[in-house]
């Protein structure tokens, strides 16, 4: 009896764990997909050239992420969507604006100014460093 109960609990844990991952993935898929579709619609109604439209779209999505963060809405989306709200560029904007708001009690310079880059900083450090590396290789190969 005891053994069976243990096995049963194990089984429940295993399955609920699995379905949690599945549900999380489904939510991430839906929200991430919807965010990208919003960007595409905005991109498609812009009248400029393809290149300029792209820049406008990125700026618009950053603006949207920042605005929803300032209105305290983005955190709620994040609770539902998980990675679906982290991975799109709106999440990058959120990672800058959210600590900026949160750390203002620690001052303008070391609070807001420094904490803004708590996530964006590493992204830029490794993003830019890898492009310099890749650029160097590209430069040597194309000369």
């Amino acid at each position: 009896m005891n053994l069976e109960q243990k096995e049963y609990t194990k089984l429940v844990e295993k399955h609920s764990g699995k379905s949690n991952v599945f549900v999380n993935c489904l939510r991430a898929f839906l929200v991430g997909g919807i965010i990208c579709v919003i960007a595409q619609i905005y991109n498609d109604i812009l009248p400029f050239s393809e290149e300029v439209n792209k820049v406008h779209t990125t700026v618009f999505m950053v603006f949207l992420g920042a605005l929803l963060t300032a209105l305290n809405v983005y955190d709620n989306i994040g609770k539902f969507a998980g990675a679906g709200s982290i991975v799109p560029i709106t999440g990058f904007a959120n990672s800058i604006v959210s600590p900026a708001m949160e750390f203002r009690s620690e001052g303008r310079i070391m609070g807001v100014g420094a904490q803004m880059f708590v996530v964006a900083g590493p992204v830029l450090v490794y993003g830019i460093s890898s492009t310099v590396l890749v650029g160097l290789i590209y430069f040597l190969l194309t000369r």
Binding site: N20, V37, A83, V87, S95, A120, V123
Partner: protein, 123 residues
């Protein structure tokens, strides 16, 4: 119908890129900062070997809006700058390509820190 399929490709591409991150978060407990770094660097290298450009053609914003697309923009910017300006392009191209988004986020962050208060996090 054609338009529908195009938007479906955007939805599925963007959705799947988020699902990969969700699996990484659930299975490996990676923090979101690590996920974002991983995504940008992956985006840079996939662009450099010519894979990500193909994904962008199919998934459009579904591929450019996730953070791998940030890496794509960085890498494409560097290549373009090298073609136009030579060696110095290695250093200028990346940031030039993503400057608008970063400037927007930074300025908005500063403004938000003045005018908006975060909800108290009791939970």
């Amino acid at each position: 119908m054609d338009t529908f399929l195009k938007y479906l490709a955007v939805f599925v591409t963007g959705g799947l890129l988020c699902v990969v991150a969700q699996i990484l978060i659930d299975k490996t407990k990676l923090t979101s900062a690590r996920i974002l770094v991983l995504y940008v660097v992956t985006g840079v290298f996939l662009t450099a070997i010519g894979v990500y450009g193909k994904l962008v053609k199919i998934g459009r914003t579904g591929a450019t809006i996730p953070l791998t697309g940030f890496g794509y923009a960085l890498c494409k910017g560097v290549f373009k700058a090298i073609d136009e300006k030579g060696f110095v392009g290695i250093l200028t191209g990346g940031l030039e390509a993503v400057a608008s988004g970063i400037a927007m986020a930074i300025f908005f962050g500063l403004v938000a820190s003045f005018v908006s208060k975060p909800k108290s996090k009791n939970s």
